[in-house]
C-alpha cells in the first residue's frame, strides 16, 4: 500500500461509525463522516475521498437514503481524477433496498455484520474499481436474473441475463467463497473473477429486466 485509501463514513448511527473506525486498519484513513444525506453530499464534495462507505437507510434528501447521496455526488472525483466510489452497507435484507442503491451506482454491498478484515479488503477492492458482492447480494442477483431457474444468456452482452460463467461465479459467491477460492474452483485468475463480477454489476445497474425495474419503481427511482 502506497497511499492510504481515503474514506468517508456515512451512517446515521454514531456508535456504528466509531465502531467501524476502530476496526479498520492503518491502510485506511477516515477523512470525513456524515449522519444524513445532505451532510454526506457536502462532505463528499469537500473531501473528495476514494471510497464512501454508505448506509442504505439515511435521513434527509429525497427520502431514498443512500441512493440520494450517490446521485447528489455524481461527477465528484478524487484528487487523482478517479470517480468517487461507493460501497453500500446495510442491516436491511430487503432486496429492493439493496438493488436500489446498487442501481444508483454503488460498487458493492456488504452487511453490517461483516468483520473488520473483510470490510477492509472490500473497501480496498472497491477503491480499485472492482465490485464487491456479499453472498446475499449474489443470491439476489441469481434470483433477479432468473439464473436460479436456469435462465442463461446466449451471449455475454445480453443485459437481461447472466452468462453461464457469471452464473457460476455468483453461485460460488453465494456459497460463501472468496474471490480467490472462486478463481481456484473455476481454474481462472482472480482478475477474471473480478471481471465477471464487474460485468454482473454492470448488468445489475443497466438491465431493464422486470424484477429489477419493479424494485426500482417501488423505490421511486425511475
Amino acid at each position: 500500500m502506497t497511499d492510504p485509501i481515503r474514506l468517508v463514513l456515512v451512517d446515521d448511527h454514531r456508535m456504528f461509525r466509531s465502531g467501524v473506525k476502530a476496526e479498520l486498519d492503518a491502510s485506511l484513513e477516515v477523512v470525513g463522516e456524515a449522519p444524513d444525506v445532505d451532510t454526506a453530499v457536502d462532505v463528499v464534495a469537500r473531501t473528495r475521498p476514494d471510497v464512501v462507505l454508505l448506509d442504505v437507510h439515511l435521513p434527509g434528501g429525497n427520502g431514498n437514503g443512500g441512493s440520494d447521496v450517490i446521485s447528489g455526488s455524481r461527477g465528484v472525483t478524487t484528487p487523482a481524477g478517479a470517480p468517487v466510489r461507493f460501497l453500500a452497507l446495510s442491516v436491511s435484507d430487503a432486496a429492493e433496498d439493496v438493488i436500489a442503491v446498487i442501481r444508483a451506482g454503488a460498487r458493492g454491498y456488504v452487511t453490517k455484520t461483516i468483520n473488520g478484515a473483510d470490510l477492509t479488503s472490500a473497501i480496498r477492492r472497491v477503491a480499485d474499481g472492482d465490485a464487491v458482492f456479499s453472498p446475499r447480494l449474489a443470491g439476489f442477483v441469481l434470483d433477479a436474473f432468473g439464473a436460479a431457474a436456469g435462465e442463461v444468456a446466449e451471449v455475454d452482452e445480453e443485459l437481461d441475463r447472466l452468462s453461464a460463467r457469471e452464473r457460476e461465479v455468483m453461485r460460488l459467491i453465494a456459497r460463501g467463497y472468496q474471490y480467490k477460492e472462486v478463481a481456484k474452483e473455476l481454474f481462472i485468475s482472480i482478475k477474471t473473477v473480478e471481471t465477471h463480477v464487474s460485468s454482473v454489476l454492470r448488468k445489475l445497474q443497466l438491465s431493464s429486466r422486470h424484477e429489477l425495474t419493479a424494485w426500482a419503481v417501488g423505490r421511486r427511482l425511475l
Binding site: S92, D93, A94, T113, P135, R136, A138, G139, L142, D143, A147, A148, A149, G150, V152, A164, R165, R167, E168, R171, A174, R175, G176, Y177, E181, K184, E185, L186, F187
Partner: protein, 512 residues
Amino acid sequence: MLGRDRFVGEDGGVQTPYTPPSRAAEVPEPPRLRRPVEGRVVGGVCAGLAEHLSQEVWHVRLAFIATTFLGGAGVVAYLFLWALTPQTLAAPAPRAATAEDSTVAVLAGRRISRETLRNLGVGAGLVVLGAALFAQQSGLNLRLGLLVPLLAVAAGAVLAWSQLDGAERDRWLARGGASRREGMVRLGLGVALATVGVVVLATQGRGLAGLWDVGVAAVAVLAGAVLIAAPWAVRLWHTFRDEQAERVRETERADIAAHLHDSVLQTLALIQRKADDPAEVARLARAQERELRGWLYAGPRGSRESLAAAVTEVAHEVEDLHGIPIELVVTGDRPLDERGTALVRALREALLNAVRHAEPPVSAYVEVGPELVEAYVRDHGAGFDVDAVPADRLGVRESVIGRMRRHGGTARLRRLDDGTEVALTLPVTAPTSPSSTTGATPPTGPAGPAASDSVPAAPAAPAAPDAANRANGANPTGDAAPAGTQPAVPASSAGDAPVSGPPPTEPQGARP
C-alpha cells in the same frame, strides 16, 4: 321523552370509567326515523315520527289530521314520509329501544334499502296522482301547486338530515372558516333558486302558455336542490375516506406496538437480566434480530409449506442451538414435499456438524431450480483427516448421505483449502406433481445422470452427476473439477443400506 331517557340511562358509557367514551355516548341521539311494524294505525309514519321527535304519538297524529284540512297538506306529507321512511324489520318495542336494538334496526334498515327505493317510487306516483285529482275536482289548483313543491322540499330536507348520524351532523355544522362561508353561499343560492322556482310556479296563470314557465321553474328547483346537496355529498365521501384511512393507520400502529411489546421489549428485559452472560446475550440478540427482520421484511417469501421457508427455519434453529451465526442464502422456491423434507433434514445435520466441529463463518446456500435442488453448507474449520474416519461418524453418514441417497439425491463432502463443504443435490420434478415413489428415477434432462447415483451397483462416474447438472454444460470444471482427489460419495451399496465402513477413496464425515 321516555325513550330518550332510557337511551341515555342504558348506555353505560357515560358512567362506567372503563368504557372508552364515544361520541354516541356523550351526545344522546334521537333514534332515526323509522316506521315501526308494531303499534301503527296506517303506515307507521306517525309512530315513527313520534319516536324520532320524542313526542307523544297522538300529538303527531293530531297534527297530521289538522294539517289535512289545510288543503290536504297532512295527507301529502304523510304520503311523502311513508314513501321515504324505511320500515323496521324486526320490531323492538318502540319505547324501550336499547342501543343494541337500535343497531339491529339500523342494520335491518340498510338491508331493505331497495325496498325503500321502490316505496319512494310508489309514493311519488301516488302524490302526483293525488295532486292531479285535487286539481281536477276543486279550484285549489294554485294552492296545491304551491304546497306540493314546498312540502317536497321540506320533507326531503328533513329526511336527508334525519338519515345522518348525530356525529356527521355535528361535523357538517362545525365546519369553520372559508369552507363554511362557501357552504352558506351555496345554501343561500340553493334556497333562493328554489324560492324563485316556487314563486314562478305560484304566480303563473293556468293554461298551456304556462308550461314553459313551469318547466323553467322545475329546472330551477332541481338546480337548487343539487346545489344544496352536492357539497354535502362530496363532504360525506371525504369524511368516509378519511375515516377509513385513519382506521387502517390505527390498526397498523396497534399491530406494530403489540408486536414490539411481545418481541423486542421482552428480549430487552431478558438481556438485562442476563447481562453477565455474553454468549447468552449474543444469542438472544441474534434471535431477536432475526425475528424482527423476518417480520419487517416479510421473511423468506411465504408460508411454512415452502422449501425455502423450511430451510430458513432449520438454519435458524441450528443458530439458536449453538449461537453461531449462519449466513444463509436461498434462491428460488417450491412447495415442500416429502423429498424436500428429507433434504431439509439432511441440511440440518450438515449445519449442525458445521457449527459443532468447524469454525465460523458458516454459510449455507440453497438453490431451488426447476429440475434440481442444490444445497451447500460451507464452514471454515481446520479441515479433517481423510483416513481418520471413525466409526461413530455413522450418524452423519446415515443422516446426511444415506438420507439423500434414499430419496434419489446425492451428498458429497469436499475439503477446501479453508474449511469443508457439504453439497446436497436432489432432482425434483415439476413443482405441482407429487414426489416420485421410488425417488430414483428423475425425469430426463440435465438431472438425468444423477439417477445413476442411486441405482445399485453403479459406483462408477462419481463426479458425473454434478458436472452434468451444470447449466448448459458450460462449466466442465465446476465443483467436480478436483474429482480425482475429491470423489463423490460412491453408491457402493444399495440405496437404503447404511454405509457401514468408509470405502478407500471416501473422504467424508471425518471431522471428529
